[in-house]
Amino acid sequence: MLEKGLSGSSLYKGWMAFLLLLIGVGVLSYSQQYQYGLGYTGMSRDVSWGLYISQFTFLVGVAAGGLMLVLPYYIHNYKAFSRITILGEFMAIGAVAMCLMFIMADLGQPLRALNVMLHPTPNSMLFYDMIVLNGYLFLNILCGWVVLHSHYKGVKYPKWIKPFIYLSIPWAISIHTVTAFLYCGLPGRHYWLTAILAPRFLASAFSAGPALLMIIAMILKRTTKFDIGREAQDKLVTIIGYAAILNFFFVGCELFVAYYSNLPGHMHTIDYLFFGLEHDGHMYNNLVPFMRFSMAAGLISIPLLFVSRAKKCDGMLVLACALLFISLWIDKGLGLVLGGFVPNPLEYITEYYPSAGEVAITVGVWAAGFFIMSLLYKIAITVTLEHEA
């Protein structure tokens, strides 16, 4: 079945070559980082996690978002999602692969990564994160591949795979919950120390993941004969839209608690993210334009989503999904992690600017994830279309 990924149109080949180029630049940059140390990045003593860990956090959400397609199809037997479910599983594989690459890129001593298994430490949330992420990767490869292979053979998937599919559903929730627990269990970081972090992560995941999937589905509709169907598309809009509403409701809860309680520690980071913080006569606000754009884009995207469905306008739908995805990416992939370090425990402010090499590595990892996804999608789509022909 794998061979289906090796041939394709010139568009497919060109896309894969482009991704390979980006991966190559990323690998070169990583070799420089490996030689020099993590000082190669823009991270510092005060902002000790940067782009890598924030991308990791966001992508765990994208991976967990696959759940929103698996659940209706396998649990509620929602037939309209029959074509899109496999896309969700394969998106999860690509996203988790990116997560693992980002973690490796962020380690000061990557060759010692196995210490997490050699010295298992159940009191560390990172230990559980290692288990759930690798487990989720395994589950999605297994379920996705077995179901697709049965499809390829023209038979229904075997019964023994069902328990694994059911297991993958709570597992998807666990990956993002544990990832939130990395942050919200730390006593000294006010912005992260909130019980709503895990629910907020899940809500943003359940809209960002399916939003990306919708964009991909629309691209496939234009470039191949693969159409997920109007019903699935419309249902997906409902899922993305409600999850996005929930996400912004949770954000609103955060804002209320911070500003109504008037607790300085709770307000500091939010002030920094949306208005900038002044310290010793200097204004620190490098994330303000991003965060304001994120808020505006997210809030606009929700009505846009539903209008696009009413008008059956795919262009508007893609725009709405793209705005929402970028909004959530900024919120979680930039603001959450970077903002949490401002101000530092001694109430100094250090701003973070990623280095060029760090950006190249980040882009390289994203490209690698999309490479994996594109390959898997190519196989899945070819098999599905051949089966139908």
Binding site: Y36, G37, L38, G39, M43, S44, R45, D46, S48, W49, I103, D106, L107, G108, Q109, P110, R112, A113, N115, V116, L118, H119, T121, N123, S124, M125, L126, F127, M130, L182, Y183, G185, L186, P187, G188, R189, G340, F341, N344, P345, L346, E347, Y348, T350
Partner: protein, 269 residues
């Protein structure tokens, strides 16, 4: 018939489990409350058996001798081969001097008195009785020693920096680049190399270890030795240790006591 019996056994079994489990769960909940009610980390010395080394820092003596604090800092950094990269981004520090406002950000004063403003406050790892960094570390590379010192295993650390995010005191530094290297001018980052103490490698976290290598030999930490009596080191869990007399005889404060970390550093204000 059979299925009825099975049902009955199931219910009976579950009831028995619940009967046994519920009171003990309830008890442990009550215990949790009892701990919480003892307050905001007031119990500096934890309820663990064994030692808990701690430090009393007499800020009045540091005010009286303005250069004293820097002498303590350099005493530590020189013997521990702490590199100086000459920039804030790569900075590594085990012990350093802070203003009152930054050392104790949660203590607000409408008009801070002049003396407090001018007092240099020595800060370092608090060797918490309940350290969040140790809780966060995925490899036990940072761990609580039997004598209460929060230690680092530089050979096990994977450099994930979870401990840096977890530490509420900003006490931890990361080797962003090779500390054994040289700058563009050819000057080594470690100004004076002490052969009696190991250097670190890039990609690991480091911090104050209360001079565990000296304490084992019965010596006080280097900063305490350099402080000419402005810092008192001792075992908080040993009632006959003089440090406990100092704590009883003075008004002291801890950094961020409300976080439940039970820091082992006490400041005489």
């Amino acid at each position: 018939m059979d299925s009825n019996r099975r049902k009955f056994l199931k219910i009976a079994g579950l009831t028995a489990i619940a009967g046994v489990a519920a009171p003990s769960a309830f008890n442990s909940l009550l215990r949790g409350e009892a701990v919480a009610s003892t307050g905001h980390g007031e119990s500096a010395a934890p309820a663990v058996a064994g030692k808990q080394y701690g430090l009393v820092i007499d800020s009045k003596k540091f005010l009286a001798d303005p250069s004293l604090a820097e002498r303590c800092v350099s005493a530590c950094h020189s013997i521990h081969n702490v590199p100086d990269f000459g920039n804030k981004k790569d900075e590594i520090k085990w012990i350093w001097v802070e203003k009152y406002a930054n050392c104790f950000p949660e203590h607000s004063h409408l008009k801070r008195n002049e003396a407090l403003e001018q007092t240099p406050f020595i800060t370092m790892c608090n060797h918490c009785a309940k350290p969040p960094c140790v809780r966060a570390c995925p490899t036990q590379a940072t761990f609580k020693n039997k004598d209460g010192i929060v230690m680092m295993d530089y050979h096990r650390c994977i450099g994930c920096r979870f401990c840096m995010a977890a530490c509420p005191y900003g006490a931890r530094s990361f080797n962003w680049r090779d500390p054994r290297g040289k700058d563009e001018m050819g000057k080594p980052f470690i100004k004076r190399f002490n052969r009696d103490y190991p250097t670190r490698t890039r990609g690991v976290v480091e911090k104050c270890t209360f001079c565990n290598e000296r304490v084992l030999r019965g010596l006080p930490p280097a900063c305490v030795e350099a402080s000419a009596g402005a810092m008192i080191f001792g075992d908080l869990n040993n009632p006959s240790d003089p440090i406990n007399e100092v704590l009883k005889g003075n008004f002291t404060i801890q950094r961020k006591p409300n976080l439940g970390t039970s820091p082992s550093l006490f400041y005489i204000i």
